[in-house]
């Protein structure tokens, strides 16, 4: 663990650009994640979250930019890094012809720090039929098997792409507890994409908001509520609205709603002081809706 915390961040992304059939999915994304961080990646469907995750794991070749995992280029990871990395995709479809027990035994052979007793105990604790082929399990059960697979490898970097999508509330709570434990006790770095803002609020230490292929916000979770606010400007002040707003929406009556950010000195834009302007504090979900709507 000490090695990864040394000179380089576990995850680093520079100027990532990618498009699908001329539709841009990533438009120059920069991201750096420190060791032990639980980064909640949030965004609407099609915002580019999964593409970003795939690019940073070397699962797709971006049109421009680069990504590094534990100091190695994502597209050329060596076994040294792969042994310390785990990924759970959005729709786990790997090895449906194996039973849960076979799959975990098979994959476990490749990871030197594989925790077989964790895998066995968790299978039993989560009541997953271990001798039934994965193809015969429900989507939620398959997702849980994938989570066990990822966690049992004792990774230093854990990447979860909407892992809670198919889980019931009890399983979701179990997952969040595991993620918090791994990050807190082992110093595991976690990237966790989700639509469920309350889940992120429970475990994330940082939040990154993606919208239309761009990373619109990346900060500490606690700071997000302090650092961003919704500014409402009546119609007569719209001309002086700050240009650097995270979102800008014109209302039917000519007024303007913006999401504004404190500057480096902790000050709001000057327009906030004008008579008639209104500044509202935002929760994470409101912030998400304001930026992504």
């Amino acid at each position: 663990m000490a090695e990864s915390s040394a000179a380089y961040p576990p995850i680093m992304v520079r100027g990532l650009r990618h498009s699908y059939e001329a539709h841009p999915a990533l438009r120059g994304v920069d991201l750096q994640v420190r060791q032990g961080t639980v980064l909640g990646l949030i965004g609407r469907n099609g915002a580019g979250k999964s593409t970003l995750i795939r690019a940073l794991l070397g699962l797709l070749m971006p049109e421009a930019g680069s990504a590094w995992v534990l100091g190695e280029p994502a597209l050329q990871l060596t076994d040294r890094v792969k042994e310390r990395l785990a990924y759970v995709p959005q729709q786990p479809e790997a090895f449906p012809w194996l039973t849960a027990e076979q799959m975990l035994r098979f994959v476990g052979q490749f990871f030197p720090r594989w925790d077989a007793s964790f895998a066995k105990d968790t299978l039993s604790r989560w009541s997953i039929p271990s001798t039934r082929p994965l193809v015969k399990l429900s989507p939620g059960e398959r997702q849980r098997v994938e989570l066990i697979r990822a966690l049992a490898s004792r990774p230093e970097v854990l990447v979860l792409d909407e892992p809670a999508a198919a889980l019931d509330p009890v399983a979701r709570r179990d997952l969040l507890r595991e993620v918090a434990l791994r990050a807190g006790e082992d110093g595991c770095t976690v990237i966790f994409s989700s639509h469920i803002v309350s889940d992120l609020e429970r475990v994330a230490s940082q939040v990154a908001l993606m919208h239309e292929g761009q990373l619109r916000l990346h900060c500490e979770l606690d700071a997000a509520k302090e650092r961003y606010a919704r500014l409402w400007l009546p119609a007569q002040f719209t001309a002086v609205a700050p240009a650097a707003a995270l979102s800008r929406r014109a209302q039917a009556d000519g007024s303007l709603t913006l999401v504004v950010e404190r500057d480096a000195g902790g000050r709001w834009p000057e327009v906030v002081q004008m008579a008639g302007a209104r500044l509202d504090a935002l929760g994470l979900e409101d912030l998400f809706v304001e930026i992504a709507a």
């Binding site: 699962l59 959005q90 098979f106 490749f110 015969k136 792409d161």
Partner: protein, 486 residues
């Protein structure tokens, strides 16, 4: 709903690329059949029968396509839209009539309108039966339907084979068509009456099972099939000697499907049915005596060696290539795990190990089958020329598979129209090759049919080499082979 909308209804659910492929496929089948019906004498022995089979195959595919109208009918039932429900049924009937009217002139052109007409109706009925009859009935029903036409089984029971020249042919085929039609209508009506839920998957039509699985799972046909298969029939994987350092076995487990190493018991279970088919075909023949024995044995061996093994090699190749394509199209499947699994090497070593596994498995299956086929042709015909021709035609299959592997791994898949052209070319070659083996033999080896075969093969080999080089070059520029097709 107006007539145009009713006629267009089966196409509405198809993607644009599939529609294009369908148009090309139809043009190739109808054009090929028309050309064969109008052929000059001497080009192909019994060209009309080959053309009729081609048309029957097209009609079977048409039956499959039109059966998909069951899906909007069921959706309409769910949404309580009785007009739409009726429109689906009406569209089905209209399209069937239209298709039959379209092929009617060809039936007349064949010169054997009664037999050709019956065979075409059988083809259409087979397509509908496969898609609409309960999944559990399909295999036994197909075997049962084949019995009257199955030479060696007929011999066992001292039947006369019911061939096109048999006076009973019309009655038997009519009965089969009527039964299939009634069965399909019963299934359609039953589903629309009671809905999908109360009917278990075994009694649901195959087309509906595929549709429901596709909604639940991926588009990978093998995964869909596995969803439908009872657990005890699923392959039991051999997990020994898999892990770091054991690349072929490890990668075969990861790739799954036809690559899976299975236990002896599981393999025996999977080979039981094909083995039984071979047994009931050959045992009566070997046990028979008399003047017909040699001719029957020769015909059956040639049929198995030429068409049978050829089709088996082709089917295996298509299954492996399609499986690879689907694996590489799903970034969240085995591909992501393989890409991040330690111990499989990096960069070029990773690619080499994967290619060794894929090509090694391909050789292990294809080389012996081609060898058996060529040897059987030589023994049965005593002609080295025919055996060499068989080798050239069958050699196209592994050549095409190498091209498919490189195209997929290099992320340069063929456009769908090119796939359709290749499929039609392959089908034409097999039909021509089988015709040469079955009817022509040495006598027509120097004729235009052999020339067509050689030119077609030359074209096929050239295309395969071109595609393989194109894919290989792209693969060499990739950092690793597990990048998904996008």
């Amino acid at each position: 709903m107006n007539l145009t909308l009713l006629l267009a209804m089966p196409w509405a659910g198809l993607r644009t690329s599939l529609r294009r492929v369908w148009v090309l496929f139809s043009l190739a089948c109808l054009g090929g059949a028309l050309a064969l019906f109008l052929e000059r004498p001497g080009f192909m022995h019994q060209a009309w029968s080959v053309a009729t089979m081609l048309l029957a195959f097209w009609l079977a595919m048409m039956g499959l396509l039109l059966s998909s109208l069951l899906l909007p009918a069921l959706e309409a039932r769910q949404l309580s839209l009785p007009r739409l429900q009726r429109a689906a049924a009406l569209s089905l009937l209209l399209n069937v009539v239209l298709v039959l009217v379209a092929v009617a002139p060809m039936v007349w052109l064949s010169g054997h309108p009664r037999v050709a007409g019956q065979v075409l109706l059988l083809g259409l009925a087979a397509g509908f039966a496969y898609a609409l009859l309960p999944a559990l009935w399909i295999l036994p029903l197909l075997l049962l339907l084949m019995l009257p036409f199955w030479h060696s089984v007929g011999h066992l029971w001292h039947w006369r084979m019911i061939g096109p020249n048999d006076p009973r042919f019309i009655w038997v085929t009519t009965a089969v068509i009527v039964l299939a039609g009634l069965g399909c209508a019963w299934c359609w009506r039953r589903l629309l009456r009671y809905g999908v839920q109360p009917i278990g998957w075994r009694m649901r039509p195959t087309i509906l099972n595929f549709h429901l699985s596709a909604r639940r799972m991926t588009g990978d046909p093998q995964v869909l099939l596995a969803c439908q298969t009872p657990s005890w029939l699923l392959p039991q994987v051999r997990m020994d000697a898999a892990g770091p350092g054991h690349f072929p076995r490890t990668l075969r487990i990861a790739l799954g499907g036809v690559f899976l190493p299975v236990t002896v018991r599981s393999a025996a279970r999977q080979l039981l049915l094909p083995g039984l088919l071979v047994l009931i075909t050959f045992v009566p023949l070997l046990a028979s005596k008399g003047a017909e024995h040699d001719a029957n044995l020769r015909a059956t061996v040639l049929s198995f060696a030429g068409m049978g093994i050829g089709l088996l090699i082709l089917a295996l190749m298509l299954t492996r290539s399609a499986q690879l394509f689907y694996r590489w199209r799903r970034p969240d499947g085995a591909l992501a795990l393989l890409s991040l699994l330690p111990g499989l090497g990096t960069g070029a070593a990773q690619t080499t190990r994967l290619l060794e596994t894929l090509f090694g498995w391909m050789c292990a299956w294809t080389a012996p089958l081609i060898g058996i086929s060529v040897l059987a042709v030589m023994v049965a015909t005593h002609s080295l020329d025919l055996a060499v021709l068989q080798l050239i035609v069958l050699g196209l299959v592994p050549a095409a598979e190498v091209a498919a592997v490189y195209s997929t791994l290099g992320r340069r898949p063929l456009p769908s129209w090119a796939l359709a052209v290749l499929a039609v070319l392959g089908m034409g070659l097999f039909i021509a090759g089988d015709d040469l083996l079955a009817f022509g033999g040495r006598a027509v080896l120097s004729g235009s049919l052999a020339t067509f075969l050689l030119v077609g093969c030359g074209l096929g080999y050239a295309m395969s080499v071109l595609l393989a080089v194109r894919g290989r070059s792209a693969l060499r520029h990739q950092p690793h082979p597990y990048l998904a097709l996008e």
